[in-house]
Amino acid sequence: MSVLSFERIVRYFRHGHNVLDGVDFEVDAGEVIGLLGRNGAGKTTLIQIALGVLHPQGGAASVFGINPATDPMAVKLQVGYVSEDQILPEFLEVNEVLALHRGLFPDWDVELEKDLLSRFNIRAGAKIKELSKGEARQVALLCAVAHRPKLLLLDEPAGGLDPAVRREFLETSIQLLNDAGTTILFSSHHMTDVERMAGRIVMLHSGKVLVDDALDNLQERFSMVLLPLDGGMTEERARSLPGCIAVRRRNGSIHAILRMSREEGLQAARKAIGVENIRCETIPLEEMFIELLGGQP
């Protein structure tokens, strides 16, 4: 049984404008899924549907076999959640926030709480409003993981954090939860984070799943051919390459993104253009994101 499944999820906030329009995918135990999409693609909405905070208007979500729309309490008890917009009660002290979570989650691990508190170097007596953004997010992470959730939902968890805190934050999450086989679904606009953490990518676009594949496969499926401008190379010619999905002029050459592996791309380009002076590279995730989503309406 999958840990998390979305079946033909439909959700709109204005009638006729579906944010999610039949989203369909499953997450197995222990998987780390990077949920990608442009702003407004529905990543947050999907995560909130999994948490039972929003209800789908079509289809159904399931978390550990429980429908979050009908039994959100059972879901929330097994799930850890951190988001960029998450507001901890700023009038409480850190230790009071921890006491609140300790009482709310029966499986709270006091030892883990102590470890993390000392690792993050946060004063337990400090009020939340006195903490920096990074410290507050670390407290939120502590609250999300110290009850040893089986599923961790991270919605832009490192948004607005400096690179050092972001790395510390993400590595703590991975280290803590991969050991225990916890499943992670996280959304982020930091592609380097996604490449470091995720084993599988789900890309949302126009309310649907545009890409759902392992990160390695994904990098195998796309390549970028660098075509020199000399010899009459134009963007039009580049666009006529087999499997070409995008063309861009950069630094004295033309970059063509092909929907095929690096080796296949190189051969196809040489054959089509008849030029030997061609390089073909794998595409970084960020480039892939821009080419797949950036150019689409």
């Binding site: 204005r14 009638h15 929003l54 309490m73 988001s83 230790n95 609140l100 102590k114 000392s118 337990a124």
Partner: protein, 582 residues
């Protein structure tokens, strides 16, 4: 006015807040004046005991609103601070905006309370305004080099203390030109002193940590500098991190702070106390003012309609909705219960009667509206005593041009003899209580605890209908439809329902002068209609009361169920002064 000034004023949260506070305060004034009957109007009379309560409400509502809601402590926004505008200009425009935001709501309320009734209320309003401006000037004075006042515990205690002194001044001095000018002049002097002390550019923090910025006579208000006091901090060892509060205490404190401790809830709660008090007290006194019954559900519906936003920050936690609902509902039910309790306490002390001979302003024999009559316009209505003394009873217009009028058949006049008044009083008691009487002005034969079947039945029916309407309205206000037009309907329901109330208030304001309607006509007709309906149904007041209680109890669970399904709005709530908070 310079373009910079216009720009700063337009962006000022105090002025944006004023768009809400002016109509709210004016409506509160109108509500006190028109809907609570004469007893609530006494609150604005300096000679009566309710004066202190009135002042308390005005001063504290305004101060709280502008202190918390509009970033009172900021001399300019952090964004404006980096613009090439002199600090004095920034602060001057900010002061203009904050002053306007204090002056205009109180002016609106004073006008609503006093227009056409008693000019002395304007003097009183002027004194309240002058004192508020003085508090504003004092509150703005510390640390003039900083872009904002550093709000320390000492500063808050000082302001609270100053507010109490201001209240004492308001209570003990008469409302004259001199008592208005003294605080106003002081406010002006302090503002000039602050203005002169403002440098060319504001500082973000004091020059030297731990010290104020050179305003010597405010040094005792110096807030502790956190950075200096704290020093290098070692993380506390985990075993020592046990909080003082237990889980339950933290949970309930969090729910209270998140769901109840909001300025608008305190303000609505305060109004609820007064409305509940007014409704019950007026019912016990026979002069049932029905209008608060109309807008009480609207307050509650507005309160519930906002709740999805409040619960957004708690949505991801496994806290049962039932518990959250108790806080959301309780924050309104509790003030209503306090109002009811207050009303009972006052009623026990004053022992109001349904037939009341009022000699305060002239003479009037007040009977519940259910015992008034509807007559034809143009006819002459007379009360004729057995010995031949007669009185022409005044007929009050219901709607101008409409042929029917309302008449109090038990009316008495200035020229009526004591015998006639006693006769009318005996007739009224007989009609209201069903008790046979021997006319005796000083000793009406009404045993303690006597009840009027008609009055109780009518108000029982009103309460029953109100309960059903309230439960239906609350459920409707929580519905989250998928269709845009349906969602618009839910959001627009409250303004739509408020329109008739505003029209009735307008009719009360301009009706008597234009002959369009009369206060009596508006007060009596709905009660009389419901009285007749209750009479035809022949159900006792006790049964209605029981049925209302059952509806309200069932409604609590029904609304709670609907509340349990409400999707929280996870968007963080931004106050109008969001940019002014740090």
């Amino acid at each position: 006015m310079s373009r910079t000034g216009l720009f700063l004023l337009r962006k000022d949260p105090a002025l944006k807040g004023m768009l809400a506070s002016v109509p709210i305060m004016t409506l509160i004034g109108l509500a006190i004046r028109f809907s609570g009957g004469e007893r609530l109007l006494e609150l604005s009379d300096p000679g009566r005991s309710g004066f202190a309560v009135f002042l308390f409400v005005v001063v504290w509502c305004v101060m709280l609103f502008h202190t918390v809601g509009t970033g009172f402590w900021s001399r300019c926004s952090r964004i404006a601070m980096v613009l090439p505008i002199p600090a004095r200009e920034l602060w001057a425009w900010r002061l203009v905006a904050v002053t306007a935001a204090v002056v205009l709501p109180v002016t609106g309320m004073t006008l609503a309370l006093g227009a056409g009734i008693d000019p002395s209320i304007f003097m009183l309003g002027g004194k309240v305004l002058a004192v508020l401006l003085l508090l504003l000037a004092i509150g703005q004075n510390p640390f003039p080099k900083l872009f904002r006042i550093q709000v320390s515990a000492v500063y808050v205690v000082f302001l609270v203390f100053a507010s109490f002194l201001a209240l004492i001044y308001l209570l003990l001095t008469p409302a004259t030109v001199v008592t208005i000018l003294i605080p106003a002049a002081l406010a002006l002097l302090i503002s000039i002193q602050t203005f002169l002390a403002v440098p060319r550019g504001f500082l973000l923090v004091p020059d030297r940590p731990g010290y104020p910025d050179g305003s010597p006579w405010w040094k005792w208000l110096d807030p502790p500098d956190l950075a200096e006091d704290a020093g290098p901090v070692e993380p506390e060892a985990a075993p020592e991190t046990a909080p003082q509060l237990t889980f339950r205490q933290v949970l309930h404190w969090t729910l209270f702070r998140t769901l109840v401790n909001r300025l608008n809830i305190w303000l609505i709660g305060l109004v609820m106390i007064f409305i509940s008090w007014a409704i019950l007290y007026e019912f016990l006194g026979g002069q049932g003012a029905w209008m608060p019954l109309c807008y009480t559900p609207l307050w509650l519906m507005a309160h519930f309609q906002q709740s999805p936003q409040w619960i957004g920050s708690l949505a991801h936690l496994p806290i049962r909705r039932r518990l959250i609902f108790r806080y959301v509902a309780g924050s309104m039910l509790l003030p209503m219960l306090v109002g009811v309790l207050l009303s009972f306490l006052v009623a026990v002390g004053e022992k109001p009667v349904l037939v009341n001979l009022d000699r305060k302003d002239g003479i009037d024999l007040e009977v519940p509206f259910e015992f008034w009559e509807i007559g034809e316009a143009g006819n002459i209505y007379e009360a004729v005593a057995p010995w031949g003394e007669r009185l022409q009873l005044p007929a009050y217009t219901i709607i101008g041009g409409y042929r029917q009028v309302v008449v109090n058949p038990f009316g008495v006049g200035e020229d009526s003899s004591e015998r006639f008044i006693a006769w009318q009083q005996a007739r009224a008691i007989q009609a209201v209580y069903g008790l046979s009487q021997t006319p005796d002005l000083d000793n009406p034969q009404v045993p303690p605890g006597a009840r009027s079947r008609t009055h109780h039945r009518t108000w029982g029916l009103i309460l029953f209908l109100l309960s059903i309407g309230l439960v239906a309205g609350l459920r409707f206000s929580l519905l989250q439809f998928r269709r845009t037009w349906a969602r618009f309907l839910v959001k627009g329901m409250i303004p739509i329902l408020a329109i008739p109330i505003v029209l009735i208030i307008l009719a009360i304001l301009i009706g008597p002068a234009t002959g369009l309607t009369s206060r009596e006509g508006i007060d009596v007709v709905p009660v009389l209609f419901l009285s007749r309906l209750a009479g035809s149904l022949e159900i006792s007041g006790g049964v209605y009361l029981l049925a209302s209680l059952l509806v309200l109890i069932a409604g609590y669970f029904l609304v709670g169920r609907t509340f349990g399904k409400v999707e929280p709005d996870p968007t963080p709530i931004k106050s109008i002064a969001h940019d002014y908070r740090f």
